[in-house]
């Protein structure tokens, strides 16, 4: 009886294994890390035209692909750096930012090489400005940006092992909560774009290597102006299952 069960289990696992090597994988889990080159203006926080910051960024991405090649993606990213200003170095501060994005992209076009998906995305970014010497401050200054907008992804298969993919997200509305206030903004006051471009190299049926460039830009046109620009270069590994 035990032998029969063992043989049956082995047969099933073998079948699953063979199938998994020949059919496209539904799920992808990707971890990447790299460097962030950032520029920030936040007049609510400090009278600085432009802070610069640089530091490591970590990303975890999960993608589920349906039979129809529709995509559901979740991405979490985290960066930590020191905000630096040449003009007023005494106002340097530590800065940490966590982002989480959910997107659903429906397949619009697909041939052997090109795939185009369009959909909607929710993006939440929380930034915390800390200063270990702020003994009199009532707490760290923070901002939470909740964005909703449209997103699109274009993939291009260069050859059997290599591909390029590009994704863009354009927020339409923003809910901004800071230590001072909470308010909704639309495109007339808030313009933002998150664009990434990735190169992938297929190592095996289960693993890809990726190199990615991210361009993130946000501009809020209010009296205490806020603008942020990020260039990120990341390298990661993608596990497909």
């Amino acid at each position: 009886m035990k032998l029969n069960r063992l043989l049956f289990t082995t047969a099933i696992l073998s079948a699953v294994s063979v199938q998994s090597q020949t059919t496209p994988k539904k799920n992808q889990l990707e971890f990447s890390t790299g460097n962030n080159f950032g520029f920030l203006k936040n007049l609510e926080f400090a009278p600085i035209v432009m802070y610069e910051y640089q530091g490591p960024v970590y990303k975890l991405n999960y993608t589920r692909t349906s039979k129809n090649k529709n995509l559901f993606e979740v991405e979490i990213d985290y960066l930590k750096a020191e905000l630096k200003s040449d003009v007023l170095p005494n106002l340097n501060n530590d800065y940490a930012k966590v982002g989480i994005g959910f997107s659903y992209l429906k397949k619009i076009y697909d041939d052997h090489r090109f795939t185009l998906n369009l959909g909607l995305q929710s993006q939440t970014n929380t930034s915390i400005y800390t200063n270990k010497n702020t003994t009199f401050n009532q707490g760290d200054y923070f901002t939470v940006h909740q964005e909703f907008g449209i997103t699109g992804k274009l993939s291009y298969q260069l050859n059997e092992k290599q591909y390029l993919a590009s994704k863009i997200f354009i927020p339409i509305v923003l809910l901004r909560v800071t230590s001072a206030a909470a308010k909704f903004y639309a495109l007339d006051n808030y313009q933002s774009v998150l664009w990434d471009l990735e190169y992938g190299y297929k190592l095996s049926n289960h693993f890809d290597l990726k190199a990615k460039y991210n361009f993130n830009y946000s501009r809020l046109q209010v009296s205490s102006a806020y603008r942020e620009l990020q260039h990120q270069l990341n390298f990661g590994i993608n596990y497909k299952f």
Binding site: M50, Y129, L158, S179, Y217, S223, L229, H231
Partner: protein, 233 residues
């Protein structure tokens, strides 16, 4: 196929090069005014300390380390919190009543010449330790110094303000009494200077007072610093 690949690579490199080379344009010039204020601003109005006798600076300065006002409210970036301290303490008794605090009900003066443009005078004083976050300024006045500077004196005692909108005031003239109204945990004077009468459009300005004593040292013109004892004479 080679042409397509060449086009794609050219587009990618051009796009990335363009985006990385236009940082200044994308971040913009807003805030240059704030930076210049921070570095170079000289107060135009002749300002006197707005109280009698010796008081103690609880919050002042040009950074978050020294001054909790520095962020996130741009209009009160350089604000002062001031209390009266006698023999090293700001109160007698256990501090559960406003009357326990030495500064509660003490005379407050106009720091400079100008015209009253805003007055609120009917907010209840808080019980010490309890904040009124709905009306953060509590009872307050705004003085237009008619030179692009506006003095904001905040947290007055209820019904103690004796000037009205439209009144002209002169430096040293009594305007009301210190209190504990608004977003205040205990009786004190909050004072700051800004560029407009509005909290949403005003930009905070550093304040240089004239002819006062800081820790018993005469200062002809200066900005009070945190923990200093200050008096007019």
């Amino acid at each position: 196929m080679k042409l397509i690949k060449f086009t794609i690579y050219t587009f990618i490199f051009t796009a990335i090069f363009s985006l990385t080379s236009c940082v200044d344009m994308l971040i913009g010039d807003e805030g240059r005014y704030d930076e210049d204020i921070y570095l170079n601003y000289k107060t135009k109005t002749v300002l006197d300390l707005p109280f009698e006798n010796e008081w103690h600076i609880n919050a002042a300065g040009r950074s978050l380390e020294e001054n909790h006002h520095f962020a996130p409210h741009r209009h009160q970036r350089y604000a002062l919190d001031i209390v009266q301290v006698i023999n090293g303490t700001d109160r007698s008794g256990d501090g559960t009543r406003n009357e326990d605090y030495y500064c509660f009900g003490k005379r407050l003066n106009a720091p400079g010449d100008g015209k009253i443009v805003n007055v609120v005078n009917n907010i209840e004083d808080n019980i010490p330790g309890i904040l009124n976050e709905e009306q953060p300024w509590g009872n307050y006045i705004v003085i237009d110094h008619l030179n692009g500077e506006y003095s904001c004196m905040v947290h007055f005692k209820k019904s103690s303000i004796i000037v009205a909108v439209g009144d002209n005031v002169v430096r040293g003239q009594m305007v009301g009494q210190a209190g504990n109204s608004g977003n205040s945990t205990g009786p004190h004077l909050h004072y700051h200077l800004q560029t407009t009468a509005s909290r949403s459009t005003g930009v905070g300005l550093p304040m240089q007072f004239q002819n006062y004593y800081a820790d018993d040292v005469f200062t002809e013109r200066g900005e009070p610093a945190i923990f200093q004892k200050v008096r007019k004479n």
